[in-house]
Symmetry: C2
Subunit: 243 residues, 2 copies
């Protein structure tokens, strides 16, 4: 595994992170991108060598990734699961589930502050598109949904989000990086959809919210296939040289 150590996860998002976190984020990206193929057996020692750290941070990373369903810890080695079409659908099931729950809480509280915050994030997203900054766009996209979820102050719903977020973030990152090059029109659709979402919260309109949530889902869903092909190509290019 002597690849050019080109990191997939934005390094500036890890400025204050520990070695354990770095490994976690990077390993997750490599698994989701397909750079590390599903079925691969990871060894703590090999990973320690690859990342040039000791086993301690590696173990930490593996434990986290296991709790996120990215790998399965077995007696000998960690088996990579990754994200197939099925898992991506499942992740969106859960997102739909928790965001619907959150919406039901939102209709009962004052959402002025929240809407202001969301509008700000939306503007940020637009700027990110303007400068073709896929990473920044992804960051704001994830933040958008996190902001909504945090607004209801529910620690166990937040717990679910915290478990789901890293995987979603990685997936969105990879997805947006591919799309920003050739499918810019996708982004205006995503923006429109988020505007709908804000509108749904403002008017406390369940149907509108449901519509925007599902469209958001369909947007990703329909595109997964093409995306995967590009993504696989993109990642394979890095390893290919001696494997």
């Amino acid at each position: 595994m002597t690849e050019l150590n080109e990191f997939l996860y934005p390094s500036k998002w890890l400025s204050k992170a520990s070695a354990g976190d770095r490994v976690t984020y990077e390993l997750r990206m490599r698994i989701i991108s397909g750079q590390i193929e599903s079925g691969t057996i990871l060894s703590e020692n090999k990973l320690a060598i690859d990342f040039a750290v000791s086993r301690s941070p590696i173990r930490e990373a593996l434990k986290i990734l296991a709790s996120e369903n990215m790998i399965r810890l077995e007696r000998m080695g960690a088996v990579v699961i990754g994200l197939s079409e099925k898992e991506i659908e499942e992740i969106y099931d859960v997102r739909l589930l928790i965001e619907s729950f959150v919406f039901e809480r939102l209709v009962r509280i004052d959402t002025n502050e929240l809407i202001k915050e969301l509008s700000k994030i939306l503007e940020m997203m637009k700027v990110a598109i303007k400068y073709s900054d896929a990473d920044e766009f992804s960051y704001q996209d994830v933040l958008f949904h996190e902001t909504i979820i945090r607004a209801v102050n529910h620690s166990y719903i937040l717990m679910i989000w915290n478990n789901l977020k890293p995987v979603m973030e990685s997936f969105i990152l990879l997805s947006m990086r591919v799309r920003i090059k050739e499918k810019v029109e996708d982004f205006t659709r995503i923006i429109n959809n988020h505007e709908l979402y804000i509108e749904a919260i403002r008017t406390k309109d369940r149907d509108l919210m449901s519509k925007s949530l599902h469209e958001n889902f369909d947007d990703v869903q329909g595109k997964v296939e093409d995306l995967w092909i590009s993504q696989q190509m993109l990642s394979k290019g890095v390893v290919q040289q001696n494997d």
Copy 2:
């Protein structure tokens, strides 16, 4: 913290567990029972001495408990959060949420095998009551719900369950141990409720399922207060001697 090392978590459930797991399960029980009060700051070193293990398994435990919202990892020490009334409600929110989701999937598939399995578990629960075995009853109760959730084969719903389960299990354990002594009538109500649940799955009756789910919730909800008092007394008795 020189308490009589009386473990709260059933030791026979940890027969093949690592030191890290033992610490995790025991620490969780002590936090939920109130033996370790919310707000307490835990130190890795002190815990290592208390449990007579090194920091490695302690760190592992703290990471897991943090992901379960039982503690909050800060720069200096881990702050205990624990379960207040609010958190317990939230946990049941999530259980309602995921079990409702699961039910929607169940109505679309063949549930004969599942129902047979659930009936078996229910019989086990009855036997447990007959012999006043609160631990065994709790085990089967948790297993009952896990079996339902596993039936739909949804890895990300299962992920949520896996995160929630240990906390629920601990809570149920403590709750049942108190109740089995003086409130045996509660158990027949729980059994009836589970029978309703099975019936709802068999007849694919959404309303019945909703009814049984909510009653299950109310059962716990109403009783939390009295329960807490007993529980606190129970746990305080252990520490009190020199603190």
